[in-house]
């Protein structure tokens, strides 16, 4: 399988501040890759580097096998969609769509044809002669996508394209984007801080922190087998329960409890004894009748109950440790009650306390 975008040992520094450090990333042809991270993690910076809007300090960027590290943005075969839509306010939608094509001095007929096609795909034909000021947020973002679309390029870059939209519209457009990707089969690189967008859209997710990629993998891998504490904590809502203890002889020990890690897939072989952290997702805790089937069974004291309709969030105490549990929306639990829970060590994550990496 050939790579669409290859990033090799990319460095970017503003003066003494290193924003990206020795970053490597290969993106497959037709892949939907999401760069995920909190603000300041370098995800947008990386995207701008790929686009050629920021000049890298060192390293290389290849697109479709060509070294484009020093090429102009327009020469890289990319299209880009921005958070603020960045539509040219004084031009009509048609003008916005055709601006890049005119700069490339394409024949008029071809420009019209491409604009018509993009407008067709995005269903914005009726808006072509309006100015951006007269459009709604969702329409604007469609036009912004259209502007990338008309360029007929292989790599699409999205810089938090849905962040400025309200929640409902965001969901709609997310679905549309996914459909668009299925239809076009282009390579898409998508920056977001929203893990739901990341999980739903991505073929692979790159979780970033401090200018480096913490983990690169499919949404399933990222969710189920986070490579380190940061990723484990960042992904999932409500976030994972972490309990600190000792790993010894195939068991995780906390206080006077021992959890034999039966069925847990270690990263490599049988790890040695050490201080460790176990991570258990609230939604992986079972209650009610299912407890009986669980390899490990405990009783917790319920502190607080948050019914959320579709499900219910329980804040409880496992020993002295705070513990969150996600239950079915129908569950009837009251604060102050004791609750029996079951945990499957195979679905838990175990981390080295010192290195914070998955064991």
């Amino acid at each position: 399988m050939s790579y669409s975008v290859e990033i090799k040992k990319l460095d970017l520094a503003f003066g003494a501040v290193k924003v990206l450090q020795e970053l490597d990333l290969n993106i497959h042809e037709g892949e939907f890759l999401v760069l995920l991270g909190s603000s300041g993690c370098g995800k947008s910076t990386l995207l701008n580097c790929i686009a050629g809007l920021l000049e890298v300090t060192d390293g290389q960027i290849h697109i479709k096998g060509q070294n484009v590290t020093w090429a102009e943005p327009s020469e890289r075969g990319i299209g880009m969609v921005f958070q603020s839509y960045a539509l040219y306010p004084q031009m009509t939608v048609r003008g916005n769509l055709s601006f890049g094509l005119k700069n490339a001095k394409l024949p008029k007929a071809e420009i019209e044809e491409r604009v018509a096609r993009a407008a067709g795909i995005l269903q914005i034909e009726a808006l072509l002669d309006r100015k951006p000021g007269a459009l709604s947020g969702g329409q604007r973002q469609r036009v912004a996508i259209g502007r990338a679309l008309v360029r007929d390029v292989d790599v699409f870059l999205f810089d938090e394209p849905l962040s400025n939209l309200d929640a409902k519209l965001r969901v709609d457009l997310r679905v549309e984007l996914k459909r668009l990707h299925n239809q076009l089969q282009n390579t898409m690189i998508y920056v977001t801080h929203d893990q739901v967008e990341a999980m739903t859209l991505a073929d692979r997710i790159a979780v970033m922190k401090g200018g480096a990629i913490m983990q690169l993998g499919s949404p399933d891998e990222i969710y189920n087998r986070p490579r380190n504490l940061y990723v484990a904590d960042f992904i999932g809502s409500p976030s994972m329960n972490f309990l600190e203890g000792q790993f010894a002889d195939g068991s995780f020990r906390i206080d006077d409890m021992a959890m034999p890690m039966t069925g847990y897939e270690y990263v490599e072989g049988q790890p040695s004894n050490r201080a460790a952290v176990i991570g258990i997702r609230p939604e992986h805790v079972v209650t009610g009748e299912l407890v009986g089937n669980a390899p490990l069974q405990y009783t917790v004291d319920v502190d607080l109950v948050e019914p959320m309709g579709s499900d219910t969030l329980i804040y409880a105490k496992l020993g002295q440790h705070g513990f969150r549990i996600r239950m079915d929306g129908q569950a009837i639990v009251k604060a102050g009650e004791a609750l029996a829970i079951g945990i499957d060590p195979a679905r838990a994550s175990l981390f080295d306390k010192a290195s914070e990496n998955r064991i």
Partner: protein
């Protein structure tokens, strides 16, 4: 560029730094030339000649610090510097305060806003040559404001700022504010218009009074506005010349002299370029001392990206 499915352009070599941003550099040539040749070059030329005994024409006969010694020995220069400090302090304070208050008044969705704004702004369009004269008349005790008030029956009313060395700078201030506040007010008004209305709602909900909101919330948010205003006002103060010439010509005596007038008089009237240059160097040095740290923080500190 590629807009079709043709492959991206291969550029392996890192381009020379010199040619990076080539067009921006070419387009900036007029600015660079102006900055280097006129402002830096002209300034160096001025500073250089302040160490000479140049009279009518610039010459290179070095006299060391003699011009500076004479400068600081001169009553007129000392008075000029003091006057500028006095005028500068009050002009800066009053312009900012008056302009802000007027802008705040106009921002309260009043009727006739356009009319008021135009009234406050129009003096900026008129040249000082005669407006100085108009103010000179208005402030003249015999047929100006004082005589009018006395005519109303307040016989002991005294208002004669221009003929009293103690108050003459305030007489100038009256005219200076008249001319300069309009523009600053417009800038402030624009700044106020840029403030999110939600801030006001929030302040109201929090029960913060109007004045307190202005002082504690709005003004800190208008930092860039105040900076632009400050540059405009301060550069005007330093260059204060036309108004003084038109209104008092430095009088009574030398009590309303200002540094720019000293510079210009000594360069052209006394035909002692060296002395004029020494004085303008002193002005420049003080500007630079104030400005460089600020400019560095304001413009130089930020990194792109």
């Amino acid at each position: 560029m590629t807009v079709a499915s043709d492959p991206p352009v291969q550029t392996v070599r890192k381009p020379n730094r010199m040619f990076k941003n080539k067009m921006a550099k070419i387009a900036s040539i007029p600015m660079i030339l102006t900055a280097l040749c006129v402002f830096v070059g002209g300034t160096l030329w001025t500073v250089l000649h302040s160490f000479t005994g140049s009279r009518m024409l610039p010459k290179r006969d070095w006299v060391g610090l003699a011009q500076y010694e004479r400068l600081w020995d001169s009553d007129r220069w000392i008075i000029s510097v003091k006057n500028l400090a006095l005028y500068g302090f009050f002009s800066l304070t009053f312009t900012l305060v008056v302009a802000f208050c007027l802008a705040a008044c106009l921002d309260r969705k009043i009727r006739f806003e356009n009319t008021f704004r135009t009234i406050f702004l129009y003096p900026f369009a008129l040249s000082f040559v005669v407006t100085g004269l108009a103010w000179q008349w208005i402030l003249n005790p015999q047929f100006g404001f004082q005589s009018v008030v006395r005519g109303w029956g307040w016989e002991s009313f005294n208002f004669d700022p221009l003929n009293n060395p103690e108050t003459v700078m305030f007489g100038l201030l009256i005219a200076g504010l008249w001319q300069g506040t309009g523009l600053i007010m417009c800038i402030m008004l624009a700044g106020l218009r840029g403030i999110d209305e939600d801030i006001w709602k929030a302040a109201r909900v929090d029960g913060i009074g109007t004045v307190k909101t202005y002082v504690q919330v709005i003004i800190p948010m208008m930092r860039p506005v105040f900076i632009t205003s400050l540059v405009l006002i301060a550069s005007g103060i330093i260059k204060l010349y036309d108004l003084v010439v038109a209104q008092t010509n430095g009088g009574p005596g030398i009590s309303s002299e200002v540094p720019a007038k000293y510079v210009i008089n000594y360069m052209f009237q006394a035909q002692n370029l060296g002395q004029g240059f020494a004085a303008s160097t002193m002005m420049l040095v003080s500007v630079v001392i104030i400005l460089i740290p600020w400019a560095y923080l304001e413009f130089g500190g930020k990194k792109n990206g």
